[in-house]
């Protein structure tokens, strides 16, 4: 079990280093020393290269520990040795960064991101775990239908910072759209109300370009949740370095770019039609009659984006929340208290009914 994983240790005291999203630097928990990412990268470059070579060699020779798990654990598992305490780490085959369950030290598997598997970009974590917990509390506020026991009784079962793999698609769209629009004028002639409606055939053709449409590349992450925490601020995209992973979880992609293309294409197509439609003004009704959108795929980039995943349990059901680790946008569906729903419905109905009755609008 040659060393395939790396853990970043403090050059001063050999304590574990964690990437701090707030400072954007690696920090030592023991001696509080702070290091630039580039500084640690330079120190660990050789170690990472060795770990990657070992990882690839193990993959190629098929003598890696995977074989020994193929019988007992299935081929989706891999085993590594913790460089700090020597404990055996059993991980998913896609795991790229994790923590040792015995010594707690952050570990990175550089081989998962070696060669062609290396991401182009990474957005480092900017918000910490405390912000994620606060964001969840804020998420509960103002939700009139939220069962009171949900916010009181439920506890965060698990909170983890994960670098989620994303494909970023560039594309060019050529759209040709036809709409039917109407304009109406109403006049009164004697006892009749006369409405004259003018009908128009409206055509809009055009081209538009998209840059870096994100599509999550991990089958473990629900697509709708990943869609909902968008957008990420691309101004903070950085060239990928494994040093950013220290202290967080990370997976390599297990959904290929080809498999993800259809999702990105569908979004491009809809946006192209919306853009053509939004260019039309001055009509009372506008109905899409036909839309022909041709897409030309551009560059595809591979990136890791920061996401805080929070899982809570209430009445034996797990509720999953996700927070954008860069912008702080938190999403997650909440349960509805049916009793509260009908109580609010009844109160509004009675109050509004009395007001309407008193005003005599419908008398």
């Amino acid at each position: 079990m040659s060393e395939q994983i790396t853990n970043y240790q403090c050059p001063s005291c050999t304590g574990p280093l964690h990437f701090n999203g707030g400072s954007g630097k690696l920090e030592c928990e023991y001696c509080n020393a702070v290091f630039e990412v580039a500084e640690i990268e330079a120190i660990y470059a050789e170690k990472e290269r060795t770990a990657t070579e070992n990882f690839n060699a193990a993959e190629n020779s098929n003598n890696s520990d995977t074989s020994q798990f193929s019988q007992d654990w299935g081929t989706d598992m891999k085993a590594y040795s913790c460089p700090s305490c020597g404990a055996e780490l059993i991980c998913d085959s896609t795991t790229a960064a994790t923590s040792c369950p015995y010594c707690g030290n952050p570990t990175v598997v550089p081989g998962q991101f070696g060669g062609a598997l290396k991401p182009d970009y990474i957005i480092p974590f900017k918000l910490d775990k405390a912000r994620a917990k606060n964001a969840l509390k804020e998420h509960y506020k103002g939700k009139i239908f939220l069962p009171s026991s949900f916010s009181k009784e439920n506890h965060i079962e698990e909170i983890k910072g994960v670098y989620v793999p994303f494909w970023l698609f560039d594309a060019k769209a050529d759209a040709r759209c036809v709409f039917h629009g109407t304009q109406s004028i109403t006049t009164t002639e004697g006892d009749y109300r006369v409405t004259t409606t003018s009908h128009f055939d409206i055509r809009r053709d055009g081209t538009l370009e998209f840059e870096k449409i994100p599509t999550d590349a991990s089958s473990k992450m629900p697509d709708d949740i990943m869609d909902s925490i968008e957008p990420f601020n691309y101004d903070e995209l950085k060239t990928f370095s494994t040093a950013y992973l220290s202290g967080y979880l990370a997976d390599k992609y297990d959904v290929s770019a080809e498999e993800s293309t259809s999702r990105a294409d569908a979004r491009c197509r809809q946006s192209a039609i919306d853009t053509m439609r939004n260019d039309i003004h001055g009509y009372e009704t506008l109905i899409e009659e036909s839309a022909d959108v041709s897409l030309v795929s551009g560059d595809v980039s591979y990136a890791l984006f920061p996401v805080w995943m929070l899982a809570t349990k209430w009445q034996d059901k797990t509720y999953l929340f996700a927070m954008n680790g860069q912008t702080g946008k938190l999403v997650g569906n909440l349960p509805i208290d049916k009793g509260r729903f009908f109580a609010v419905f009844a109160i509004i109905t009675v109050v509004l009914g009395i007001i309407l009755s008193l005003t005599g609008i419908f008398a």
Binding site: H139, G142, K143, I144, F145, G181, T188, D191, Y192, R193, V194, T195, T196, T197, S198, H199, F200, D201, I202, R203, R204, D205, G206, T207, L208, E209, F210, E211, K212, I213, P222, D223, D224, D227, S228, A264, R267, Q270, S271, T275, D279, V331, G332, N333, P335, I336, F341, V344, F345, A346, I348, T349, L352, G353, I355, L356, S357, I361, F362, A363
Partner: protein, 261 residues
Amino acid sequence: MKKRLLFIVALCLCFVTLLCTTIFAEAQLDYVTDDIGVLTYSELDELNDLAEDLSTELDFGIYALVVDDYLYYGDSSIIFEVAKEIYSDYDLGMGENRDGVLLLLSTEDRDYSIYASAFGSKVFSNSKIDILEDSFLGNLKDDDWSGAIESYIFTAYNMTDTALSNVGEDGVYEEEGDYGTVLSFGVAAIISLIICFILGMGMKSVSHKNEANEYILKNKINFTRRNDRFTHTTVTRTKIEKKSDSDNDDSESFSGSSGKF
């Protein structure tokens, strides 16, 4: 001589025509009229007195007419139209607007019709006329003519009396069962449901994205064709309903129903 004879005949014809017209114009139906004798004299007298007393009390005519075949009493083949014709021809109803209600029973094919005029149309609206029908149809099916007419008279009296108590000082009738209130609460319920739905939507923050508007390069949008072409015009005419049409012209308003027993 011949001329004189023709003149006398013509004069006689004119006199007869004039006499008939006068008699027809002055013809009056009793409150309860039985043209075929399904009621005994005493029953007829009692019912007639009852209808007259109650009608006078309310200033609202309550009439019942039993005929063998309604087709002989009007120009229409529809019993409701005939009832309407009789009500008009015999100048039924009381008060300025000829308020009242007529029950026409035709024994030939066991047909019946109710015709309510002026204020009667408000008392016996579509939703209420069923109550009046139910009050006498059971007796009619048992050929209890007297019981049927008596029940009809009392039910019509009670319903009219109740309706009159809903007439405000301004003379405007407020229909029993305040539809304004019902409508207010119906609208309130719909608005409440929409509000609750919007609040409920706030509980769901997860959904698939179906557009990529945030990733469009703003300086890379080029329109190659913008063409708005007029094709045709359509015109629709809608009659403007005037509220006064139904509210003020009581003399021409009526309601009713018909069927078989």
